[in-house]
């Protein structure tokens, strides 16, 4: 048995490493876009997102004063720190906060080509050494007669910004927003402007909440009847519900467009609420019936003996006890309706006033701004944020629902 125990512990490390790698592969794509959504537009095209925390080097030309030069043997020596004193005055504030020299040089033409800590040679036996913290030592056989002009690549601190989110939600960049504000536009005006993502965000909410609530009630009553009432044809009905679980939605598009047009609700919110209700019902009835059938028979029979009607039993006993199943379905349906593109393409008009986020991203953003990743990344995370919050807070019910639906 010792042998087996030994095998286990060596395998244990492999398991840890393998799981870690798997998780890494699974979250890197999301992480990449998330980091990108908070980076400056220029930074995105210059360096990979995995370098975002390192900051990106930018080249500046510094002029270091030579007032403090001293003679040391044959050489004239200047020692100073480039981030202090006169040479620092030309640098932008944000460089000063987390200053580091990535490379430097002695000639503007050749640019910053020497690594910090090493020595660069210049005209007239000029020798310059710069440390990454900015300490500079320059020596020359002749007296320095003007400031040293040195190109330097300085690492800007990582710039994480929420500007992309503001831009995508209002469809205006910082300048345009300032202008609009000067012209008297309020925040509401900007959020509801024509090409802004905020409108589709509200529309998505408007589609998904009624489309989640309504099928739950219809399905709960039906599930109760299928679980606890005896009537001819019950088995057949359950079989039909199971069959309908897998019917492709595509079959319903043309007929429903025609049927909806009879009532004048094609391409309308009412139409999409009804469509989502119909499409969500099989899963709702199936999940809820499976759960309700497992409730203890005693409770329900006792209530019947005490003279409770079916309606009372359903409302006061079965419905409260079925909360976990109701929650599972609610999460499924909410995620499904929030994330849906297909049903929205068929049942909602495509104008920005009533379109949902998924459709807005695919038709408006991917088409016209396909290369602008600062916009696309921020839009993606506006779209993903709500489902992620629901997911992480209600994961327990989601898992339970999945298990009830598939494992017996």
């Amino acid at each position: 048995m010792e042998n087996i125990a030994g095998q286990k512990s060596s395998l244990g490390i492999v398991t840890h490493v393998a799981t870690f790698l798997l998780v890494l592969i699974w979250i890197i794509p999301t992480l990449g876009l998330f980091v990108t959504s908070m980076r400056d537009q220029d930074a995105i095209s210059q360096t990979g997102w995995w370098r975002a925390l390192q900051g990106s080097p930018q080249t500046y030309v510094l002029s270091a004063p030579v007032d403090d030069q001293v003679q040391d043997g044959d050489l004239w020596v200047v020692e100073l720190n480039v981030f202090e004193g006169a040479s620092a005055e030309e640098l932008p504030e944000d460089i000063m906060d987390r200053s580091a020299v990535a490379s430097f040089g002695t000639s503007r033409l050749r640019g910053p080509s020497t690594d910090p800590g090493e020595t660069a040679e210049g005209r007239g036996d000029l020798m310059v050494t710069v440390q990454s913290n900015g300490d500079l030592r320059a020596t020359s056989p002749e007296r320095f007669d003007g400031p040293l002009v040195l190109p330097m690549a300085l690492v800007a601190p990582p710039q994480l910004t929420t500007e992309n989110y503001s831009e995508v939600l209002t469809d205006m960049n910082a300048e345009e927003r300032a202008q609009a504000r000067d012209q008297g536009a309020t925040l509401t005006d900007m959020l509801f402007s024509d090409e802004a993502l905020f409108g589709p965000f509200i529309n998505t909410l408007t589609v998904s909440i009624p489309a989640t609530v309504i099928p739950i009630i219809i399905a709960a009553f039906a599930a109760y009847a299928l679980a606890w009432m005896d009537f001819p044809g019950r088995g057949l009905l359950i079989a039909i519900v199971v069959g309908l679980l897998v019917v492709p939605l595509q079959l319903a598009f043309v007929p429903l467009t025609i049927i909806h047009s009879w009532f004048g609700i094609e391409k309308s919110f009412l139409g999409i609420w009804l469509a989502h209700t119909g499409f969500g019902l099989p899963l709702a009835v199936y999940l809820l019936r499976n759960y309700m059938v497992g409730l203890p028979r005693d409770i329900i029979e006792c209530a019947k003996v005490d003279g409770a009607t079916d309606f009372e039993i359903f409302l006061k006993i079965v419905l409260p006890l079925s909360f976990p199943a109701l929650a599972s379905f609610a999460i499924f349906q909410f995620l499904w309706t929030w994330n849906d593109l297909l049903v929205a393409s068929v049942f909602l008009p495509s104008d920005t006033e009533s379109t949902v986020m998924t459709r807005f991203v695919v038709t408006n953003l991917l088409g016209s701004r396909g290369g602008e990743w600062h916009i696309l990344a921020a839009a993606a995370f506006v779209m993903i944020a709500v489902p992620l919050v629901v997911f992480f807070t209600m994961q327990r019910y989601l898992v339970r629902g999945l298990l009830a639906g598939s494992v017996k």
Binding site: M229, L251, D310, N339
Partner: protein, 329 residues
């Protein structure tokens, strides 16, 4: 405008929810107090009749909605596919024969079959591996959560996430950056309409569905009796043998359920191709084809394609129903 949309939404919830409860309450009242009151000379007969009718009161809204939004459309679509469009003045089969003569349709059909083969296999495989790995670890639940997370992300969001991974620039896309590590000088365009680019889109769906497979298979793995594993250890089986020869055969049923559930999903998937490869004909699948004909108002072809999708789903549907019936007995 937006305020009024939100307002309509709230009113709909109130009217919808209130209306449903009012319907159930009033119809039950009507049944018990007016139609068949539990009093008077026929009390026994009345109670029996009320009991016979009540289930249908409970079921009516669901049956009505399911009928109108799923059952009727299936029949109606099938009918339209043999009567509308080119079928109007040719044979009933004209819509079908014409779409099958279209090269793009055949490519879409082939792609769909590839999706159906690759995605369920990939997601089930990774799900099984993830389930087995995470079940043994103290931080397994966190790992599970993170692998499961893509389930919450919309297909469109996932498409954006992966388009960025596939970005053609060596400084932006992760895949190209990895090629850079191995000495590549310049990035390549990964998705440019080659037929095998479909596999890159399939990766997105595998990435999303692995969490689903993992959750269900993990529950099944935990149900495998300890004794069988212990017996195998004593007989000197190594961990791989234990996994593939002891555990996997015992959860075969669940693996089939996971596989078929993902297969159904794959047949309906539209968003990923619409978001990532809509400009390339070689990447099309049946649902994107169907939507093109739908948008251009060619209902004959659109319904014909949707019926083709239905036919592909049919075996799974029959199998599901038989499973459910077997369980109820």
């Amino acid at each position: 405008m937006f305020d009024s949309v939100l307002f309509t939404g709230i009113v709909t919830i109130i009217v919808g929810v209130g209306g449903m409860f009012a319907y159930f309450w009033l119809s039950n009242m009507f049944l018990d107090k007016v139609l068949f009151p539990a009093s008077g000379p026929n009390i026994g007969r009345n109670i029996n009749r009320a009991t016979a009718i009540r289930p249908w009161l409970f079921l009516f809204p669901a049956i009505f909605a399911l009928g109108l939004y799923l059952v009727v459309p299936v029949g109606y679509s099938a009918w339209l596919s043999v009567t509308s469009g080119v079928a109007e003045d040719g044979g009933w089969y004209r819509n079908y024969s014409e779409i099958f003569q279209n090269r793009t349709f055949r490519v879409a059909l082939l792609n769909n079959l590839l999706w159906v083969l690759v995605v369920p296999a990939g997601a089930t495989f990774f799900g099984l591996v993830a389930a087995q790995l995470t079940d043994q670890l103290s931080w397994g639940n966190i790992a599970k959560s993170l692998i499961f997370m893509p389930m919450a992300i919309s297909f469109v969001g996932a498409s954006l996430i992966w388009s960025f991974v596939y970005h053609p620039s060596i400084d932006i896309g992760v895949i190209n950056a990895i090629r850079g590590l191995f000495g590549a000088e310049e990035g390549v365009t990964l998705i440019d309409g080659q037929i095998f680019d479909s596999f890159l889109l399939m990766v997105v769906l595998i990435w999303i569905q692995t969490g689903f497979a993992m959750v269900i298979l993990s529950a099944a793995l935990r149900g495998v009796p300890e004794e069988t594993v212990e017996a195998a250890i004593i007989d000197g089986a190594n961990p791989f043998q234990i996994f593939f020869k002891i555990k996997v055969p015992q959860i075969k049923g669940t693996i089939v359920v996971v596989w078929t559930t993902i297969t159904i999903l794959v047949l309906k998937v539209y968003d990923i191709v619409a978001a990532m490869g809509s400009q390339y004909r070689n990447l099309e699948i049946l649902p994107t084809q169907m939507m093109q004909y739908f948008d251009s108002g060619n209902y004959g072809f659109a319904t014909a394609i949707s019926v083709v999708i239905m036919v592909l789903v049919l075996p799974v549907m029959v199998w599901n129903i038989r499973q459910a019936r077997a369980e109820m007995r």
